[in-house]
């Protein structure tokens, strides 16, 4: 459903030398620009959860931010099947189209709820905003859908008109998931959603995600540094380091039969 080819994001202007020397070094010694991620090839199928693991600074979030158009990649292409049957690179779409793709075909849950939510709006307003962006016009059905989603995410109905800033971290995260799911996107991007949550809330969020995937058959990319989360949620896993993909495979393959030295170290450090 999503095919990413040779995706790269460079922070900094770049110079003729780093253009020419290619992937030799992550940071160009001449102009100081840094590649957040580079040469990324991956695929996500319908109804599949793809995990991305790696240490911090390995380019996981850069990749996700590029896919959600928070940043424009320096090179590479991504094709999303619902957009023109996957015939066009979504990074070459007009800004209007990009907004439409983001609002109709994608949902994103950030690690930090501050980035994904408007803290001063009501929670149902947050969900409604995404619906309006996805061309929902009927106020009654918007309200109904928002209430329903927040209910599924186990936000007490008495509190859905309160602003997320009065919520706990776990509740904010669940409002974020409700918002991301509002338009029923075929692709959901989840960035470190369980870090910062206590264990009991973490278990509930994981169960919710698994349930959504099962019932809605949507594709997901889950970025996490927690191999336990990856093991429980994902079908396939990609391991990143220094902005590159160093290994990919079935999740149990990565965990039980890691090939790359870094992956072996990562797996052997699992508690």
């Amino acid at each position: 459903m999503l095919r990413v080819e040779n995706l790269g994001k460079r922070y900094g202007a770049g110079c003729s030398r780093c253009e020419r020397d290619g992937a030799a070094d992550r940071r160009c010694p001449y102009c100081g620009s840094v590649w957040g991620c580079r040469g990324i090839d991956l695929e996500v199928f319908n109804g599949e959860i793809l995990g991305i693991v790696g240490e911090s600074g390995s380019g996981k979030s850069s990749l996700l931010r590029c896919l959600y158009f928070d940043e424009m990649p320096t090179q590479g292409s991504a094709r999303l099947y619902p957009y023109q049957q996957g015939t066009r690179n979504i990074f070459e779409a007009s800004s209007q189209d990009r907004r439409a793709i983001r609002n109709r075909f994608m949902g994103m849950v950030y690690q930090n709820p501050l980035m994904g939510l408007r803290m001063a709006f009501s929670s149902s307003g947050n969900v409604a905003e995404k619906l309006i962006a996805a061309n929902w016009f009927h106020v009654g059905s918007i309200q109904k859908r928002a209430t329903n989603l927040l209910d599924v995410m186990e936000i007490p109905l008495a509190r859905i008109h309160e602003a997320p800033k009065t919520f706990s971290g776990g509740m904010q995260q669940r409002v974020q998931i409700a918002r991301a799911l509002a338009n029923h996107p075929p692709l959901l991007l989840l960035d470190e959603i369980t870090s910062g949550l206590d264990l009991s809330v973490q278990a509930r969020v994981l169960d919710l995600i698994r349930k959504i995937q099962r019932e809605w058959q949507i594709g997901m990319i889950v970025v996490s540094h927690d191999l336990g989360v990856i093991r429980l949620l994902t079908d396939r896993t990609v391991v990143m380091r220094d902005g590159h993909i160093i290994e990919q495979g079935l999740t149990d393959q990565i965990l039980q039969d890691p090939q790359h030295a870094f992956t072996q170290m990562l797996v052997h450090s699992l508690l």
Binding site: E48, E215, G249, M265, H268
Partner: protein, 235 residues
């Protein structure tokens, strides 16, 4: 049904001076449909590694694993794409290990029902079938809504079995499925397994208990420790 040709599996321990460890050395055998092959051998002899290679939790180093699948016909599991492997695992190949890894705080009955939901079964039907299996395997009904983390080793093992059996797999890989069970529960499990076998499921099994193995097996494969297990590779 299953035809394994000169399968080897080696591990390269990059963190330990690149030592190469051979887990499986040149194993060949075949299994007919509806029969059970029992794998025996000393511990460290590669019994689990063999099952994991077939289930593709391990990437086989060399060799071929021909499997007659319902979906794709005769295929080589060693060279199959990840997507196809995932599909086969959902539909016809299941593995039962000694360990249970599930999302915390999900009731046992939903844990068992999940594989059916993934095949598109309705939730009420899946739960009904799950409760049938839990009952057959002798899990008391007041535990069905409890979380499997709190279960005893034997109960966890039976949950694991129920999860695998509920989809009526065509190929079943059993890695010590009764190691934590008492004699009576093990007897129940063996009965269910031989019933499945009679209905056409092919099995590869590892049992520590020879008597249990004899009840189920139609043929026997003896794995010995591969010679030259470790060799240093010049760096």
């Amino acid at each position: 049904m299953l035809n394994v040709e000169s399968l080897t599996k080696t591990f390269q321990l990059a963190l330990h001076r690149n030592i190469t460890v051979t887990a499986l050395g040149n194993v060949s055998f075949s299994v007919e449909q509806g029969t059970c092959l029992n794998i025996s051998g000393p511990s460290g002899g590669g019994k689990s590694s063999l099952l994991k290679c077939i289930y593709r939790s391990y990437r086989p180093t060399t060799g071929r694993i021909w499997y007659q699948s319902r979906e794709y016909g005769r295929i080589d599991l060693a060279g199959l794409s990840e997507r196809e492997i995932l599909r086969l695992r959902r539909q016809e190949v299941r593995m039962v290990s000694q360990f249970l890894h599930v999302i915390p705080r999900v009731p046992a009955i939903d844990v068992v029902a999940e594989p059916l939901l993934l095949l598109g079964e309705s939730s009420s039907e899946a739960r009904a079938q799950a409760s049938e299996w839990l009952e057959r395997l002798g899990i008391p009904s007041h535990l069905w809504d409890a979380y499997p983390q709190t279960f005893s080793g034997g109960e966890k093992q039976r949950i694991n079995l129920a999860r695998a059996l509920i989809t009526s797999p065509r190929l079943l890989l059993l890695d010590e499925p009764t190691s934590a069970l008492d004699a009576r529960s093990a007897g129940v499990v063996m009965e269910i397994l031989s019933d499945l076998k009679d209905r056409g499921t092919t099995m590869l099994s590892i049992f520590h208990d020879n008597r249990l193995a004899t009840q189920l097996k139609d043929s026997q494969l003896n794995l010995t420790r591969p010679e030259k297990r470790e060799e240093m590779k010049p760096i």
